[in-house]
Subunit: 339 residues, 2 copies
């Protein structure tokens, strides 16, 4: 650590996740001595505010990482594939929010509440998991520890912010056009998203699953270091701005009763239990927006199987699902003296 903090770069600084990374660095008081905001040449000239100061966006180049201690990447997989290795070679530790390195055996895939030890083996790049995976493993961690997870059947309700700024704008413009009786703009999604549900996130594979669905399968196994966990995912885009919701049926190896599961979840790191159904209290994306916790409710026995629980898991996909998790990884690197 040079001077009174670390030299931090945010790559993709003007995106939905990048702008939130800057805000979270400030909110969590991460020890930043210098902040470098990097983006494509199109964003040069823009400014973001950090601790009351305007910081200009600079163009991302191969030389951007000289003197940088840690770089938080959120500019898509192709930018990460090109620039993360360059940043790592220049001595900077990369926390990468894209899918580029997540399944690379050399790259730790880390959720600080779940597998913090995994950062230790890093070789310059640490991957941030997919948003839908993060909130699910945070909620399932105490269940995996207590009873072992055999199978997960998950269906997601994913907010448009997960697609990025343009998708947030598309939902807003579609709703406004509908209210005014005007023709609907449509550029980001293949179908109208306002007042609709699209069972389509990421590209489709030959198996009929989407990339997003297989991320939930493969990343869950890697984070839990348990290749025997069976996962079936259906991922769906819904007309919500912020906050992914997940309906999760989890079958455990050993019995785990609901009361015990609730007690474990209440003690779990990063989890907030919201489960008073008779008072109409359960997690909702509108309440999770802007928060860093993973909210868990509707906790009940799965009546269709011997050892099973059903959960409703909600988190802010841009914060815990991306920006906050990345900053937490940087904090973990500081604590582990790996920066």
């Amino acid at each position: 650590m040079a001077r009174n903090g670390y030299r931090v770069a945010v790559v993709g600084a003007t995106g939905a996740v990048g702008t939130t990374m800057v805000r979270v660095l400030e909110e969590r008081n991460f020890p930043v001595s210098d902040l470098k905001l990097l983006a494509s040449s199109r964003s040069v000239g823009k400014e973001l505010t950090f601790r009351g100061d305007k910081v200009a966006v600079e163009e991302l180049t191969e030389k951007s990482f000289e003197g940088v201690d840690v770089a938080l990447f959120s500019a898509g997989a192709s930018v990460s594939r090109q620039f993360a290795p360059i940043a790592a070679r220049s001595g900077c530790v990369v926390v990468d929010n894209s899918s580029a390195f997540r399944m690379d055996p050399q790259t730790p895939l880390v959720v600080p509440e779940v597998n913090p030890h995994a950062v230790r083996g890093h070789q310059g790049i640490i991957a941030n998991p997919n948003c839908s995976t993060i909130q699910m493993v945070v909620a399932l961690k105490p269940i995996q520890d207590a009873a072992g997870i055999k199978r997960i059947v998950v269906t997601t309700f994913q907010a448009v912010s997960g697609t990025g700024m343009k998708a947030i704008e598309e939902l807003r413009l579609q709703v406004e056009a509908l209210v005014r009786g005007e023709p609907l703009p449509r550029q980001v999604y293949p179908h109208q998203i306002a007042f609709n549900c699209l069972p389509h996130i990421g590209s489709f594979l030959d198996s009929g699953y989407t990339e997003e669905e297989m991320k939930m399968v493969n990343e869950t196994r890697k984070i839990f270091e348990d290749p025997d966990i069976q996962v079936c995912a259906t991922t769906v885009r819904v007309p919500v701005y912020y906050g992914h919701s997940e309906s999760v049926a989890v079958e455990t190896r050993k019995p785990l009763d609901v009361k015990e599961a609730v007690a474990l979840l209440k003690r779990a790191d990063g989890v907030q239990v919201v489960d008073e159904p008779l008072a109409a209290r359960y997690p909702m994306p509108l309440d999770a927006a802007g928060r860093d916790e993973t909210f868990v409710g509707r906790i009940r026995k799965d009546i269709s199987v011997e050892n099973g629980l059903v959960l409703w898991i909600v988190a802010d996909n841009i914060r815990k699902g991306a920006a906050t998790n990345a900053v937490q990884i940087a904090e973990l690197l500081v604590r582990e003296k790996l920066l």
Copy 2:
């Protein structure tokens, strides 16, 4: 059959389902000689159009069913509990869209594509299943027949029209208020529904499940006449006007490969397969609205279990989920000479 058709009553004629029942009777050219529109005294004075004629709404009383051959009820369980037995005693056959008699062992619970034979034993009242159950059993019928269903894990994405006219209005008013930056009206749901998801449909039971979730369990078993089918349901309200979507993982007793399942679904009564993911073609509530078919897509192997399939099932909850199914039951009664 008197004269050139049947004397038909619609109870709850001014509601979201009732008005659609009248439209569907006309569209499907049901042999109606007289149409009686019944509702509470608050609706007296209103008129609906049937085959070009205005029909006045009359107040529902104990004498309303004299001379009526078939009455389609959709005015809530308490109205059905009070008036359906009176109607049946006056010689009229009741098709009841409420939950009042669905689980009564004397009352057939009928989806014409699935268990048409069940109407034969009727004793004056035939129940229309819950909207979420209807579309699921239509899609699962060929799978049950071919391979036997062991377990269903279902998560629903339910439109506000399922709650009724006032809920449709609430979503519309909330969206308009948000666009205009005005305070949000909220009367129907316990939380904002616009841009949110509520894992709460029907009242909560001590088990942590909702009434809606248990309807899917119990009605599925009754319709398939198979008490061994295990069902775990999570039912969620989403900001969609018309069309329920369902993410369904079904475990079968015998193996059934995806190609065979698709072939069976393509031939199944009332089903339309929409499953060309590479062309971004899959069922969506926006496309299902106004249609009578049950749309099935995203058909794939459940990779988390030995014998399993995953499906995405969408139908118009007001039409196939309620009004159309009720009119189809009336048509079945005509075919079976039970009217």
